[in-house]
Symmetry: C2
């Protein structure tokens, strides 16, 4: 058993050890997560995703720095970062080219940064990320930034963990690239154009606006916490609504960061007043429950079937004596 | 029951209807796949993946055209294309901007093109793609091109279906973009630089070569069908080996297509002489079996639990009375 007291009282060493256990899915890690769970639910989970080359890591660094050193009158917040790289499933090694973090973050006890890479299974990575985020939450980190590389299903799954999702773009990545972003745009609560000092920023902004209206020929609005579609020109629904704003930043210079933090804060207020916060919590926990159910069912089933029988079934499949579905039926019904 | 005779005898209408049933995972679709399975295993499955904007669709069109109109002395082959778009999980609609196919392909009875989009679950898409590919195979298509958009786990899962995987690059997509390709490079059997008439092609080629050597500081070689790593300068192993070649194409002009087709043919010979063909078949069918097992286990379990009990468990989870893993234990052990 892992004693969770040191985690709750803020020991970085205990937290770091626990994160390793969570990533390796050990019995100790699982037991600790069970014990820590009642202490979760306080943090604001912020997903940051987008194509490579958009400067997500710098942006995350600057946001973390902002929360640690807020404008006068605001209290600094404890910040944790989970930097997830699902792009390299074969090596198991993270291809995190820009993992070099700002020096003042590295020495700050109110900041905890963890890099995670896929270890073969994507489901495993999403589950591990959920566990790591819960550990941060229980350990009292008030803001948790979940950073993912790329723009595929993996990012979407991980973005589902967040309350507020930032989709980061940058000028000059080519029109072609942007042409497929419609899918990822749909998960965006806030659109960020980073590297906004580069040529072509107006073009990117126009493209994003165009794509938003193209992807949503009707305007997406939030009404009483539910996404609704309203024909442009139609009467607006009553109650709060959220239209993803476009924020411009130059993360390397710190430009636009206070405004971005302000948009994030506004989104949090929106979530809480609209009832979306609870709805997202429910969706998030349901999704995590389903992932765990699935992997547990497979693990339990695997314990009931012998390697010899499994191999024999594979052989019959390879000989094309039985189809994949017939093989499944044979294995599950015990007549294989 | 779906009568498979029309499929085997080449009816496009019957095939088209079956593909819809496979995509919707109907009992008829499943039964037909069982019956068709003994007729599969003849086709050469070619995966084509890479970032958006690299011109994959044009390349696939040109390859299909080449196989239909080969150089004198070679027989034309029947070609099927499964164009898979996992990038838009929320709408369920394909964002296939360049789905406009060449006119001469559209009218050719020896070509069958099917566009597929994600419908929420990625596992579902991989399973559906596997089924569609099996239907093409049984229907006598000799070359099956599996085209995917993007560069994430989804593409990797779908690429696992192929015997030969082409990873497509293009000049001018930015150095940053390329910096994450190490993961996807690992699945490449052949690297294609499309749009090779664009400025920067030498740079892209240099970058790819550099990345290959960076990602693999030792040279990757195939030896008796297994991937081995050999320190550069060390003695070469005996037997066949495969080092991913870099092929330059201008798909819109048809340039480099015969050479690319030649490289694909060489890879096929390599697979067959090295024993890798069988090994990949085994891995492919095992992976498909596992996906099916997982979804079947979940479906069977779902039939045993009442909605009320599931909702009640979710509620306790939301109240943080129990952790996600405790919720799973409760649901699976019947004491929830």
């Amino acid at each position: 058993m892992t004693d969770i007291t040191p985690i709750l009282s803020g020991s970085r060493l205990a937290l770091s050890r626990l994160l390793t256990q969570i990533e390796n899915d050990t019995p100790e890690g699982r037991a600790a997560l069970n014990d820590l769970f009642p202490h979760t639910g306080q943090a604001h989970l912020i997903g940051v995703t987008g194509a490579p080359g958009t400067g997500k890591s710098s942006l995350v660094n600057r946001l973390a720095h902002f929360y640690r050193h807020p404008p006068e009158g605001q209290a600094p917040k404890r910040v944790a970062v989970a930097a997830v790289d699902p792009s390299s499933p074969f090596t198991g090694g993270a291809v995190l080219g820009d993992r070099v973090r700002m020096r003042d973050l590295a020495g700050d006890p109110g900041v905890f940064i963890r890099s995670m890479a896929s270890r073969g299974s994507l489901g495993g990575l999403a589950t591990a990320t959920a566990g790591v985020v819960q550990a941060f939450d229980a350990a009292g980190y008030e803001v948790i930034l979940i950073e993912t590389v790329g723009a595929g299903q993996a990012e979407v799954d991980i973005a589902r963990l967040a309350h507020t999702t930032l989709v980061v773009e940058a000028p000059g990545l080519g029109d072609d690239i942007q042409a497929i972003k419609a899918g990822i745009l749909e998960i965006a609560d806030i659109l960020v154009i980073n590297k906004a000092d580069r040529p072509g920023v107006e073009h990117t902004e126009r493209a994003l606006k165009g794509m938003l209206s193209l992807a949503h020929p009707v305007q997406r609005v939030f009404h009483h916490g539910q996404m609704m579609e309203v024909q442009t020109g139609a009467a607006q629904p009553e109650g709060p609504m959220w239209i993803p704003p476009i924020q411009k930043t130059v993360a390397t210079e710190g430009e636009g960061i206070p405004e971005l933090a302000e948009a994030i804060a506004e989104h949090r207020v929106y979530l809480q007043t609209s009832g979306d916060w609870e709805r997202r919590e429910r969706a998030r926990l349901q999704s995590e429950l389903f992932q765990l159910l699935q992997s547990t069912l497979v693990t339990r089933w695997q314990a009931t079937v012998s390697d010899a029988r499994y191999r024999q079934t594979i052989d019959r499949l390879l000989e094309r004596e039985i189809s994949p579905r017939e093989a499944v039926d044979a294995l599950l019904n015990g007549n294989g």
